[in-house]
Amino acid sequence: MIDTKHEIVFHPEKCVGCGLCYKACFVDVIRWDEENKKPVFKYVEDCEHCFYCESVCKRGAIEVKPNYASERLLQHFDRYR
């Protein structure tokens, strides 16, 4: 998926700096700020709404708000109907 508009809400006060969200992101949306021990959501437009980052965060510091309509199904609905 490309050009998605999913939103990732981050609550820094809950983050303990474990880095699991950074590791879990298989599309390189999340980078790691080594100095502050916090994730950086750098390439959100590439997010595939897998929820892995939210799933591995046991502190509830991340919430992914999917915008499914921004994902293209690529079927020619207008031509069919």
């Binding site: 998926m1 298989f26 595939e48 199904l73 609905f77």
Partner: protein
């Protein structure tokens, strides 16, 4: 050159590109056989989290080998799934190793549920077949096992080009997504465990982007069965969530159960005929297509997630189901292309046509010919994805170890390395040009529509190929702004290559077989098409040839 990056030179006995379940299996298996060998995994994201095994349904195929002969399944598979295009010996070996593979996964730390008496807690799917759950932390457990055995792992480095010396593999190059550091890695043997091609259309487990396939193609190894990389799944039109087995519950706008038009009895998994039925409904005025489940238990894969206790996966699935349910206000479905082109041609030891270069898992599933005329796992064979990768990883280990032990560390040709360096960073050097997304969008327009890539016809293949060639013309103009973008540029180029191969080979195969479906050639043609299509890069030109399937040497043959 304006791009300024550090360079790192490494050497290893065995280099594995890709740290998913296949790459980890190979690494562990090689260390078990030959602990003295240096094994290095290079993963472009994070080993243990990348790949496909930790994002799917967490299901393993199970065969009760006390009640069945592996050849019973081969016979069934050739007739119902693979359309006689499969390597029957290789598939029989896969079935024979089933219980051994489950034991090895358990030994390596995967949580495979067992009954109190020590037997596997399976869910029967037939008289001697079943499935069994595995928790999605499988690859994390295996990473820990690999590291304990001394396997070295580098994350966030993408392998881009393969190096050769005297016709054999000599290593690979790559770059860091984080700071661009260019890696020159000399290796006696290289294993590509880089996944399939999914064109960035579907999300989740279809995460392969074909860059490993492209590297192997550029190196001159043969590819096989490129035309079977067009898997599609029914998804809900609002959340795009897959509905596994939804093909059994398809209704048109007139309330007719249109599943009955293409299915006489329930099949192991979705077939391309379900896609065709959807397309017909949409174009003849009886769409859209909705699902009507005969019971709440039929709905999606949710009940499977509750069959076994898998805490890691359950949290992942819960989030996916809950967020999707918030937007799924009806049950309309449409197909979504997953892809799964997996064409690197390998023998039974998973060696490619370049000595010392191996390919495993989704990179070579169709290329191995084991599944026949279906795309990579699930390939109408649920539960075979993880186990195919484990099978290939185990199957290559002895050959890789022998190759690494019997060959000296190759001398690397500096000219090849500099050529690779220039090629890899070229998109960062361009002052102007198009973006990688411009190219990807075009490839997706060519591959996504079902009437192009799945329900094919010569006229529509020509239309789709024309779009792919427009994308191809943009490749030399791609401009990257950083190293993340640079990787996407290389993936975009790989997507163009896969799409072009798909359509050129699909045009050649004038028949329908297995998953492969052509409107203009609807019948299976065993007289002319018991053949594999082989693709090879010869001096920069994409060449196609055919190879007869040696059906005469195998026991299961098509009816005359």
């Amino acid at each position: 050159m304006k791009t300024q990056v550090d360079r790192k030179t490494l050497s290893t006995d065995v280099l594995i590109a890709g740290g998913g379940v296949g790459g980890l299996t190979a690494a562990i298996s090689i260390k078990e056989i030959a602990p003295e060998l240096d094994v290095l995994i290079v993963e472009k994201q994070t080993c243990g989290y990348g790949g496909k095994a930790n994002k799917g349904g967490g299901v393993l195929q199970y065969f009760d080998l006390t009640k069945m002969d592996p050849w019973d399944f081969v016979k069934y598979h050739a007739n119902v799934i693979g359309g006689f295009l499969g390597d029957q010996e290789l598939l029989a070996k896969y079935v024979s190793m089933n219980n051994h593979m489950l034991d090895k996964l358990t030994e390596w730390g995967a949580k495979v549920p067992k009954n109190p008496d020590g037997t596997y807690n399976v869910m029967p799917t037939g008289p001697a077949t079943a499935i069994i759950g595995v928790d999605l932390d499988i690859t994390l457990k295996m990473r820990r096992t690999a590291e304990k055995l001394g396997v070295k792992i580098i994350d966030k480095v993408a392998i881009t080009d393969l190096l050769k010396k005297d016709g054999k593999i000599a290593g690979a190059t790559g770059f860091s997504l984080l700071d661009g550091t260019f890696y020159e890695i000399t290796a006696k043997a290289v294993i590509m465990a880089t996944g399939s091609q999914n064109y960035r259309i579907g999300s989740m487990w279809g995460s392969g982007r074909g860059d490993g396939i492209a590297a192997v193609y550029r190196a001159g190894a043969e590819l096989r069965n490129v035309e079977f990389g067009n898997f599609a799944q029914l998804v809900r039109v609002r959340s795009h969530t897959e509905v596994v087995y939804g093909e059994n519950f398809m209704y048109n706008a007139k309330g007719e159960h249109i599943t009955k038009n293409f299915l006489k009895e329930r099949e192991p998994d979705i077939s391309s005929k379900a896609i065709r039925e959807w397309y017909w409904a949409m174009t003849n005025g009886t769409g859209p297509v909705h699902l009507r489940f005969d019971s709440p238990q039929s709905e999606g894969g949710a009940p499977l997630s509750r069959l076994w206790d898998r805490p890691y996966g359950q949290e992942f699935w819960r989030l996916n189901h809950e967020r999707a349910a918030a937007v799924d206000t009806d049950t309309e479905v449409c197909p979504l292309l997953i892809g799964e082109q997996s064409p690197i041609k390998v023998g039974h030891d998973m060696q490619t046509t370049i000595p010392g270069l191996y390919a495993i898992g989704d990179a070579s599933y169709c290329g191995s010919a084991a599944p026949g005329a279906v795309p990579a796992p699930p390939g109408r064979n649920r539960g075979s994805g993880i186990l195919n990768a484990v099978f290939a990883g185990i199957s290559c280990a002895e050959s890789v170890a022998n190759h690494a032990k019997s060959n000296p560390l190759p001398e690397v040709d500096k000219e090849q390395i500099e050529k690779s360096f220039t090629r890899v960073f070229a998109p960062l050097e361009r002052e102007s040009g198009c973006t990688c997304k411009d190219v990807i969008r075009k490839v997706q327009e060519a591959m996504g529509p079902m009437e192009y890539s799945v329900y094919m016809h010569a006229d529509r293949i020509a239309q789709a190929l024309a779009i792919v060639l427009e994308a191809k013309a943009l490749v030399p103009q791609m401009k990257a702004v950083d190293f993340h973008d640079l990787l996407s540029c290389h993936e975009a180029e790989a997507m163009v290559l896969s799409a072009e191969m798909h359509y050129r080979a699909a045009e050649m195969r004038k028949e329908s077989r297995g998953w492969f479906l052509r409107e203009d050639y609807p019948e299976m043609d065993n007289k002319n098409w018991l053949k594999w299509i082989i693709v090879k890069n010869v001096d920069g030109e994409m060449t196609f040839s055919t190879e007869d399937v040696p059906i005469e040497k195998w026991p299961v043959k098509p009816m005359a």
